[in-house]
Symmetry: C2
Subunit: 369 residues, 2 copies
Amino acid sequence: MKIGLCGFGVVGRGVYEIIQKRHDMQVTKVLCLEDIQLPDAQAVKDFNDILNDPEIDTVVEAMGGLHPSFEFASAALKAGKNLVTSNKALVCTFYDELVPLAARMGVKLRCTAAVGGGIGWLSELERSRRVQKIQQVGGIMNGTCNYILDNMTRKGSDYMETLRQAQKLGYAEANPATDVEGIDTWHKVILSSNIAFGISLEKESVPVAGISRITAADVENFRAHGRVCKLISTGKRTEQGFSAYVQPTLVDEGTPEAAVPLNYNLITFVGETSDRMSFFGQGAGRYPTAYNVVQDLVDVLSGKGFYAPYGAPQQADNSETLRYYVRGSWAGEVTEHWGDAVITAPVAVSDIHAWLKENPEAFLAAIAE
Amino acid sequence: MKIGLCGFGVVGRGVYEIIQKRHDMQVTKVLCLEDIQLPDAQAVKDFNDILNDPEIDTVVEAMGGLHPSFEFASAALKAGKNLVTSNKALVCTFYDELVPLAARMGVKLRCTAAVGGGIGWLSELERSRRVQKIQQVGGIMNGTCNYILDNMTRKGSDYMETLRQAQKLGYAEANPATDVEGIDTWHKVILSSNIAFGISLEKESVPVAGISRITAADVENFRAHGRVCKLISTGKRTEQGFSAYVQPTLVDEGTPEAAVPLNYNLITFVGETSDRMSFFGQGAGRYPTAYNVVQDLVDVLSGKGFYAPYGAPQQADNSETLRYYVRGSWAGEVTEHWGDAVITAPVAVSDIHAWLKENPEAFLAAIAE
């Protein structure tokens, strides 16, 4: 297998290093805008040098972002090359383009590192689908949010102070919005649901609430009621079809979710025969992520393509009702007061997220039953 | 695929039910000593009816125990039939016979459900080995012990009372020795180590200590020091080769291990690039276990055999030193007193297990660092 590697940052360099020790594959060209010298691969600055190289059968996209990643990815697939990527934004956003395109071209598309970094999550969904119907997917999918929430819970510190410390330690980016507003988790649960259920979720039907409005006083309220706040994603089969959402969620102290420390992930599926299966590990980082990119390359070599057949677009139905902790101008029915926040009566997930859009200064967290 | 199913108890019946819904495989004969009537399979009482049926290409062993399971399993392999089993005692005890025999006969042997029930653990070790060296395996591998320890921790109840309740609820067997003395975990960590490292551990070099001597006072001591007791297995690479052992272990409150509730398992491997990866799920039960048996059958259909090449016998080297909580006539160096128990100075794992053999009334638990 001859590989054209696009991007030589955190993940790309890790992929290159792991492949250097292997005999079944070789990185022959690396697309990198900086000047680099590699002993066994040619550094190029124009993607066409990879695209038009007939020796290269597989492209690894490790640049991140949507553009030009999407243009490079589709050009590679159209040119009959396999594509492996760790870019969840790319595969989630252009699911309806990339997955059918790869199938039409008869080439392989894989993206295991896109959800859970080093965790063999999407590959386990693929395995699980062979034997059972998957009922539910989701969990703690973003290490930055978990790092912030875990530190606020353990130290009682406030949000901004914790975020700044996470940035200093490299657990949060300079612009943390994609992580703390839940967008990264949203990409991951949509992609996981698409694969688990064989559908293509309409993205705008999947609501997301992030953690950036949480305060030390909120966390103290949770602690006083034996609860821990985590950013949790959910995708599941319902009687009506499928529901999917991302929101801060108050889990009981003593549950596996509550115990997830630092920047770890805990991702779960529930299958009709296997019951609950959870995966705990490093959801990001150079080597864990690069590890799963190389796993995908091994799978491509063995003939494996995408994890599930492409399925028809589906609107998420979030009419399920949950109780919420709300700090803000909530005018609906209230059952309890926790400090200056309230616990709502059961309210439809879609309704409270619509309310949050109108009240962006509010903070909410679902109460896990 | 035509399957001869040996055993129609908890697991066997679950396997039969799942396969009934599939088109790629069929149970044609079931070995069962009771009189049963099945709509689509012949019930037989003599294993030779399966062995000598040229249509049957694959045998599922779901009887448990060592004999006649071993005789049936080896006869099936020698007759050129694939073998799938969930029997950890069988595969661990006769590793040096069954694994080379399957390779020699060119047939497939799989046993994913043998460790972790429904967790895709051995199959993930197999996947992991393709890309990295695995450094360590282990964790909470026995649901009965975890159920007892979790209940003692949460309720402060004593061992016998908790065991009896577990028996009443079906979480412990009438004769619980295999579980509570750690033998089941011992089989599982030896099998996991053999596959992860490509070796064959000398079983008598792997020491095991169980939980049957633990008291409510011990648990209270642990609680007072922010610790939770779990039965934890370890298999790892060392500078000298490999170490492996099973022992009660005091983990910190707030760790993922401490949060494992009821009869769940939490099994972990550490890889050189993936870092720590843990699996949380139902380690037993009809459908989770049967689920992984059927996964193995799908893998056999796709041409997959055993998880790792058979490796040479290896003596475990347990010269690593740990501190232990000991309640008993410990005459070695002591660093602390917890109630009427002591905390030892660091002592070699092999030495303290040798001491425990001479002092079987004692209870010990390693202190996780």
